[in-house]
Amino acid sequence: MPGTLWAIAEAGPDGHLTKLSAEVATLVRGLGAAAGRDVAGLVTGTPGAVAAVAAELAAYLPRVVALEAAAAATSPIAQLAAQGAVQAIGADPDASIFIGNSPDGRDTAGFLMAALGVGVISNAGGVAWNGGPVAEKGVFGGRLITTSSFADGHGIVTVPLGSVPAEEAASAGVVETITLAGAAPTVTVLERVSEAAGAVQIEEAKIIVSGGRGVGGPDGFALVGLLAETLGGAVAASRAAVDAGWIPYARQVGQTGKIVKPEVYIALGISGAVQHKVGMQGAHTIVAVNTDPDAPIAEFADLFVVGNLFEVVPALVAELESRKA
């Protein structure tokens, strides 16, 4: 049926469907029901790996296309995924395409925008249907929410983490496999280096303990890590801590880092600059510990503890341990 709604999904570093992809698939399924449109998913990977991810995606969607791309072993995935999407979508000028706004997702959206000549509504945190996708998005650091739609009712929508909770469909969908056609891309992956294998990804974490300049150094981050471990959460940071070299960039939350939406975000020694706020204001519960009662984060935390993190955090770890026991 023309006007199919597509979810473009991706696998994470662990080879499994990302949480963001599961959310996008759930969003698309809901929109399809509201719009009376067909829905489908697409995921790209090497012939050896893609089947497993496609099966995970099929838990959310009635139809999944697994795109086998041998080049995915040695080339960045986004361009392949975009070529594959053109191939899979075929002649369906009314199709709309939903993609998580991860780095690879945004790259894929850019390639597809050029290939299909359609527009992009970016960073749509909420999408409804009214003759086409109607997107709500936070702009200017979340100070305003705009509502936008496509002039001709269809296009590409990029979706941030937390648009809808991921929810599997009542029954699993069918997977069809296609092989990527076309020339191999000119960009080669020489090496993939893993520096933080096994560490919980902050985008996937339910609980995040985040440290800022107030943490004072790598030793302070050991304390942040201890609290994260006690809570079963992941460690994140403000830019000031990343710039100081206390923690890798992959852990930065904010405008130039990651946007996270955990259940709980505990900010230790973080002032709450607007560029940090945009990365974590979607957290369900925000707890801040800060020596400065006037720190800006007091304005958007749910619980604000005026205190020294070097005293509060050890006491908190002890309290958690004693209640576990």
């Binding site: 570093p13 960045p76 986004a78 361009q79 706004n101 780095p103 945004r106 790259d107 894929t108 959206a109 850019g110 390639f111 925008m113 050029a114 527009g119 992009v120 960073n123 997107a135 936070g138 650091g141 979340g142 100070r143 305003l144 929410i145 705009t146 509502t147 936008s148 496509f150 002039a151 001709d152 990029t158 000119t186 960009v187 893993s194 520096e195 933080a196 990804q201 609980i207 809570l231 830019r239 960039y249 992959a250 930065q252 405008q255 130039t256 259940e263 709980v264 560029q275 519960t285 925000i286 707890v287 801040a288 007091a298 619980l303 604000f304 005026v306 205190g307 005293e311 509060v312 309290e319």
Partner: protein, 260 residues
């Protein structure tokens, strides 16, 4: 080596940005700066020159009348010259049109490398560079945390959620980068004085052979219909007790919110 930097003039993100009556960003209200991520790639280019490579650095922007003010700062940092695509018809252009216009401008320039930011701080779609690479037929290497030209190839480290990938492509190529490239320099007084005599060449749409009817707000693929102000979070509960008591209250609060 010739490097072109895509430098988007954006409002200084001071929290004062607002929408105009046309529901578009009111760009006249706030002084423009070069987009933060674009400054990082400019810095990366200038460092190649500092390291002894023979490098010319050209800025390219599509912007309105406020464009030159932002570009002057990039020239003061050390870029050699700038091209500004500016035309009244471009106001309100979307990402799709922006990529097409930048592709037409790039076709008039000579370069080995095009460097762009991974995204802008205002529109922040993060899709323009990939689209531009595609339209211009350039290899695309994104999310660079280091950029190393080597003979007729360029190698980057690409940020990944667990570490980085090392990518390589033949030049000319398009690379996007960000903060992890390193802190941009402040212009020196000499740089600021010198920037006054550097040229900013302005191109109108006619110079690029683009029909004004195909760009701008009317040709945008999407429209903003309304805006609203999100509900503020309710005021924080404040705890001022000593650490052991504060710790108890944090745990109680987390349990109360069913967070743990």
């Amino acid at each position: 080596m010739k490097i072109v930097i895509l430098a988007k003039p954006v409002p200084d993100a001071t929290g004062q940005e607002r929408l105009g009556p046309d529901l578009r960003l009111d760009r006249a209200a706030i002084p423009p700066v070069i987009n933060g991520n674009d400054e990082y790639v400019l810095e990366a280019a200038l460092r190649l020159r500092d390291a002894g490579a023979e490098v010319s650095v050209t800025l390219l922007a599509m912007a309105g009348a406020f464009g030159p003010d932002a570009l002057r700062k990039g020239l003061a940092m050390g870029a050699d010259n700038a091209y500004l695509v500016s035309d009244p018809a471009l106001a309100g252009s979307d990402a799709r049109t922006t990529a097409r216009v930048l592709a037409a401008a790039l076709a008039k320039l000579e370069f080995d490398l095009v460097l762009a930011g991974v995204d802008s701080s205002d529109g922040a779609s993060g899709v323009v560079a990939a689209a531009l690479a595609s339209l211009s037929g350039l290899p695309y290497l994104s999310y660079a945390t280091s950029i190393t030209p080597d003979g007729d190839k360029v190698r980057i480290k690409r940020f990944s959620s667990t570490g980085y990938d090392v990518l390589e492509a033949p030049m000319p190529a398009l690379v996007t980068g960000m903060q992890a490239l390193g802190e941009p320099r402040y212009p020196t007084l000499r740089g600021i004085m010198g920037a006054r005599s550097k040229t900013i060449t302005t191109w109108a749409l006619a110079d690029l052979g683009i029909d004004p009817a195909t760009v701008g707000a009317d040709a945008a693929a999407s429209r903003v219909s309304t805006f609203s102000i999100p509900d503020a979070r309710s005021a924080a509960r404040v705890v001022r007790d000593p650490a052991p008591e504060a710790a108890k209250q944090i745990v109680d609060f987390l349990i109360e919110r069913r967070a743990i």
